[in-house]
Amino acid sequence: MRRFRERLGDHIGPLCCAIGVVAVVIVYAVYQPAVLSAFGIASLANASVTLALAGLGQTVVLMTGALDLSIGSEISLVNCFAATFMGGSTTSIVLVVVASLLIGLAVGAINGLVVAYGRVAPLIATFCTSFVYAGISLTLRPQPGGSIPDSFANLLTGNWGLLPFSALLLLLAVLVIWLPVFRSRLGRFILAYGDNPESAFASGIPVRKVGMAAYMLAGLFAAIAGLFLAAETTSGDPSIGNVYTLNSLAAAVLGGVALTGGRGGMLGPILGAILLSIILNVLSIVGISAFWQDFIEGGILMLVLGLAGIRLLRAQSWMTLLGRSQS
């Protein structure tokens, strides 16, 4: 029984998100039965995958007890890079994809250097770097534009029967990046470091390298998200990633990832991302105008952050309450 409750506690975030997703899809289907067609599923998947990838990246950093406010800018940067340099030939597509992933790792490494080695507070550091990355995107591409070859776009956004390729991309990212990392020592160290930094240091964990690796992984996920956005919109837009910074946080927290670190998985943020994306999609279907989008996103964020805050308010002593607020 104790084990069961313990397990439930672990999975309460993903579970609630899953229930939420089912509920919202039912509402969706009532208003628009076409959503259950191959095209409908593909478009829902396409709408969710970017946020899911961003959420995964954010989660890796959250698990170390830090935060990444530059994820949105990283996505924009890769998006602009890909739309600017991707030619039509297979060679150039492959080259640009590889370069994009390397850019993701590099910008993540910069964040990691500043936070883990420069000892600048994570929020301030990534807030500053987000402007640097945004500036680079804007320099690359002052106006939205550029082009993406159809072959690449179709590869990521098409579907095979009921199975959208975007879902396969997410699955691939999980299989090739997430699972290997969290089955290895690095993943263990990330969780341990977020759980208790002092114990981690005392246990001989290379804490700075771990912090750095977390940001690099976040950058990698952001790069994949940026590439997918490029395929979806077939263009580059220097502000396309902005919304993903805070929404990735919301997706992760909705999915049960603790802001204080040491806890989280991949299912939660993915389901959280799907839930958020579908909610925003449903709004337009049920007749709420697009003007409400930001308002509702902001409202969801406030709600999620507020709920996370209320959890903290259970602290018994003022020392722990005031100690934790300055992260």
């Binding site: 290895s184 020592r185 001989g204 964990i205 003022w318 309450l321």
Partner: protein
């Protein structure tokens, strides 16, 4: 002794002018349990930190297995074969027992993936080795009790296969059944030939487990004998030392006249597990001491009175006849309480702000004239307090952090002299404070008592109780284990009450 596994010679450590450890030597054979005994601040923790690589000695040497080693970091100590179980555990609540034990040393597969099965088997074997097979290796650590976590920490230490195992007060937070269990684990380890240093405040544990006992006092080794010749009286005597020099001529204030109504009444105060029903009265002009070993609830008592616990506090706090149990410091201050904490940096003062601002922070509302601060009155009040407490500073505008520890403490006390309250809670006010500042703080406490204030003093330095307090409550396990008053207040009586059998604690 050629077969000594650990041999330390002449270990000395000084922090500035204060000697933490002086010329301490000890040697330890395989299969021996050495108990380390001493009052608070006797140097036990410094010695442990040296052996575990957290502190390097100023002089002296440490040899392990006959070879001299420089233990410059915890890692080096592990590699040299010394594993330490500290009081603060180095574990992770969200990982499983097996993951905790083998963190960083997991069995890896060819792809670099952790072989959880192998780890689980190794952890299970280790837990069985130390004799606690009932702790599941795949259970999450956060779900275990404190005692079980302590055992996991021991298993983690054993996984390094150390020759010397140091257990720093492993039983201090445990109930009787758990203590017995831990002691049998230690016995098992001894039987397997490990050398063990065991630190505890509980005499009967030492009597059951130790092969030899070493006693420290004020950083020196004052006694070492085999178990056969160990007696409690002798140990207490050595821990206290010869008759204390009577440095302080001023006699303690007379016991409060019982006819004055109490200024503060505490009735059955409880805080889940940390305070288990504390009741006492405090009368005006009385200096009430809270004594006992560290972490027995004295500090929680002061925190609770000052409203530092937001929830979970039960029982009554009555101040001048009114129910004033506080869940916020502002309520406590309004009820007439002042609190001088021991942790100067985190709870005491604003290190980067000027001394004057630190003192005047409590009287901001009273200094208000129209919209502004009455600067002239502030300067006068601050100057008067700096002089009264002999605070050594270049000017009242110097940042608090530029002062010595003692003068910082005086500034922190001064802010509650600027804003006079009825009841003063002193939480170990002389910790890390030089002799001159100590005298000033003692004089301040006496002056406050003479002015009819009620004072509660918690201290880790037992010398202070006889010279300051008219009554002392000795805490054990979150309860008052006994009290002494008037002429009975002495280090001996307090120590005897502090070190009584644990039977009562476990209940």
């Amino acid at each position: 002794m050629p077969d000594a596994v650990l041999r330390a010679e002449g270990l000395t450590k000084r922090y500035g002018g204060i000697t933490a450890l002086e010329d301490v030597s000890l040697s330890l054979a395989a299969g021996e349990v050495l108990a380390l005994l001493g009052a608070n601040g006797a140097g036990k923790s410094t010695l442990v930190k040296m052996l575990s690589g957290n502190v390097t000695p100023d002089s002296g040497s440490i040899a392990i297995g006959g070879a001299e080693r420089h233990l410059t970091s915890p890692r080096v100590a592990f590699e040299a074969g010394v594993a330490t179980v500290h009081q603060e555990l180095s574990l992770f609540g969200s990982l499983t027992v097996a993951q905790n034990i083998l963190i960083g040393r997991e069995a890896l597969g060819r792809l670099g993936h952790i072989k959880e099965e192998t780890s689980l088997r190794r952890a299970t074997a280790l837990l069985a080795e130390i004799g606690v097979p009932d702790i599941a290796a795949d259970a999450r650590l956060g779900t275990l009790s404190l005692a079980q976590r302590q055992l996991v920490e021991i298993a983690k230490a054993i996984s390094f296969d150390p020759r010397v195992l140091i257990l720093d007060e492993p039983t201090s937070a445990l109930g009787l059944t758990d203590v017995h269990r831990l002691l049998s684990v230690v016995r098992g380890l001894r039987a397997k030939g490990r050398a063990i240093i065991f630190i505890s405040h509980r005499m009967e544990e030492i009597e059951t487990i130790a092969d030899s006992v070493t006693i420290l006092r004020s950083g020196r080794k004052v006694g070492a004998f085999p178990r056969q010749s160990f007696t409690r009286d002798r140990a207490l005597e050595l821990m206290l030392g010869e008759t204390q020099q009577q440095l302080h001529a001023v006699p303690p204030p007379p016991p409060a006249v019982q006819t004055t109504p109490p200024i503060l009444q505490v009735a059955d105060l409880r805080l889940d597990g940390r305070l288990n029903g504390v009741s006492f009265d405090l009368r005006p002009g009385e200096v009430l001491g809270l004594a006992g070993l560290e972490g027995q609830g004295q500090k929680d008592m002061l925190f609770a009175l000052f409203g530092l616990f937001r929830r979970g506090l039960r029982g009554d706090v009555i101040i001048r006849g009114q129910a004033r149990r506080a869940s916020r410091p502002l309520q406590a201050i309004a009820a007439g309480l002042a609190f001088i904490p021991d942790d100067r940096k985190n709870m005491g003062g604003f290190m980067f702000l000027p001394i004057a601002h630190n003192i005047a922070v409590t009287i901001l509302d009273r200094l208000r004239r129209f919209l502004f601060l009455n600067a002239r009155r502030e300067t006068a009040i601050v100057a008067e307090l700096i002089q009264r407490l002999a605070i050594k500073c270049a000017s009242a505008d110097a940042p608090l952090g530029s002062l010595s520890g003692g003068n910082q403490q005086k500034v922190i006390a001064a802010k509650w002299l600027a804003f006079e309250r009825d009841i003063y809670l002193f939480c170990d006010p002389t910790r890390g404070v030089d002799a001159g500042a100590r005298e000033t703080i003692y004089a301040t406490i006496r002056d406050l008592a003479a002015a009819g204030k009620g004072i509660i003093l918690y201290s880790t330095d037992m010398v202070e109780f006889p010279i300051l307090c008219s009554r002392v409550l000795v805490f054990r396990g979150g309860k008052i284990a006994g009290s002494v008053s008037g002429a009975e207040v002495s280090e001996e009586s307090i120590l005897a009450l502090s070190f009584q059998d644990t039977g009562a604690v476990a209940a």
